[in-house]
């Protein structure tokens, strides 16, 4: 009985200590201090970040697939070089992000395995197909534009390694959006067929891009605590509105029509109001039923499996060299 009593009191003390530490932690966040890997943090903060950063990393990696589809078919060498550089950047962004997630105590292998097993999510947008060259323009202009809108506030996220990774990502990402807009500009100033191609791509991508900001504020699961912890600085709807307001004049300049007949400028607020988003489609795509979910997962698994011999050979070679230098030293 005595032992049990001791245990109880210990557990209670630990809770008290945790409550005190949690309050201290929140005070640091409120003072805009950055949290670093070895600092104490609530388990839920760690879990939220591992989930968010690894999903972000998976998105960068899966995001290479829709664009990679067009590298060999880019219309000019200039476009091809730019697209190749962009896809290389996405890979780099994935790696920065995995490294940031790893500082929280999960290995990259573990995180990648979760993705390959279909247990981790990645951005819904990459489950849509790239049917024409104009899709590459729209991805740069709108998909990367939306990503930048999301990522700029993350540069001030409370978790140091994530914030620092986002600063690098945002610096590099701005070329992505500009090269996309340039593609759209060329097409929309081109032949009738090219204009139609640009409009068709905008029609197909507009709504999925608006969904990238996540569920509406009234339905978001993670919003409140993430805001309190300063992981998130703006709500989904706020960012979506900022994006729409920035994008409408850009579309007007291109002479393209946003596929939302209900869209109108609210003269009082100065904001562009958009029609209701089909959240059922979003749910379906996240649940694995989008147009390309199975293709994307199959492509990632194939790349992982076909790269296995490279990983094994590199590890074996490193081990052989280690043993040889140990033998020489002996």
């Amino acid at each position: 009985m005595y032992t049990q009593a001791l245990n109880t009191s210990e557990a209670e003390d630990r809770n008290l200590e945790d409550a005190a530490r949690a309050a201290q932690f929140q005070a640091r966040i409120d003072a805009e201090e950055r949290i670093e890997p070895n600092d104490w943090m609530p388990a839920a903060y760690r879990k939220t970040l591992v989930r968010q950063i690894s999903q972000h990393a998976h998105s960068e990696i899966v995001g290479m697939l829709p664009e990679g589809n067009w590298i060999t078919r880019a219309p000019t060498l200039r476009r091809k070089a730019a697209l190749l550089a962009k896809v290389q950047d996405e890979c780099g962004h994935g790696l920065y992000l995995y490294a940031a997630a790893e500082t929280l105590g999960s290995s990259r292998e573990e995180l990648v395995d979760q993705m390959l097993a279909g247990k981790a999510k990645y951005s819904s947008i990459f489950n849509y197909p790239t049917l024409t060259w104009a899709d590459i323009g729209v991805i740069g202009w709108l998909v990367d534009g939306a990503a930048i809108m999301n990522q700029i506030p993350l540069c001030r996220c409370s978790y140091g390694p994530y914030a620092r990774a986002m600063i690098r990502v945002c610096k590099e990402e701005s070329f992505h959006q500009r090269q996309g807009y340039e593609i759209m500009l060329t097409l929309s100033r081109g032949s009738e067929e090219q204009k139609a191609m640009a409009q068709d791509a905008l029609n197909r991508w507009w709504w999925p891009v608006l969904m990238m900001f996540g569920p509406p504020d009234r339905a978001s699961q993670h919003g409140d605590t993430s805001t309190r912890w300063k992981i998130k600085r703006f709500s989904n709807d706020e960012l979506r509105q900022k994006f729409v307001d920035a994008t409408v004049p850009q579309a007007q300049y291109l002479g393209l029509t946003i596929p939302d007949p209900g869209m109108r400028l609210n003269a009082t607020t100065g904001h562009w109001e958009y029609s209701a988003i089909d959240w059922e489609e979003f749910k379906q795509v996240l649940a694995g039923n989008g147009p390309c979910n199975r293709d994307r997962m199959a492509a990632r698994r194939k790349a992982h499996e076909e790269g296995a011999w490279v990983r094994e050979a590199a590890a074996a070679y490193a081990e052989k060299r280690r043993q040889r230098s140990a033998a020489r030293a002996a």
């Binding site: 290389q88 950047d89 790696l95 920065y96 990259r108 590890a315 490193a318």
Partner: protein, 95 residues
């Protein structure tokens, strides 16, 4: 055969302006040669550096953040280590 987790390396880059090598991030590689190549690809795609160091993360010894008070307090109380602590008359000019 299960491949062991690939070791982690910390990457330091000396930028063009001649400053010291600065930590830029980390990466995984089986050995030092591949770590250098990966660091080139991951961290210097836009001419960010003229020199790269890679160091096995396991070789780094870090101070304990929970003891930072004790660790850095000795410097905080010694304001006389800063030039502004000393009064020099204005007539003397810049010193």
């Amino acid at each position: 055969m299960a491949t062991p987790n690939t070791p982690l390396w910390e990457v330091f880059i000396r930028s063009r302006n001649g400053l010291a090598h600065k930590h830029v991030g980390s990466l995984h590689a089986p050995d030092a040669t591949l770590a250098l190549q990966a660091a080139r690809d991951v961290y210097t795609r836009r001419g960010e550096g003229l020199s790269i160091w890679v160091v096995p993360s396991s070789a780094i010894t870090a101070s304990d953040p929970s003891e930072k008070g004790m660790m850095f307090e000795p410097a905080e109380s010694k304001i006389y280590r800063h030039p502004t602590f000393y009064d020099v008359p204005e007539e003397v000019g810049h010193m």
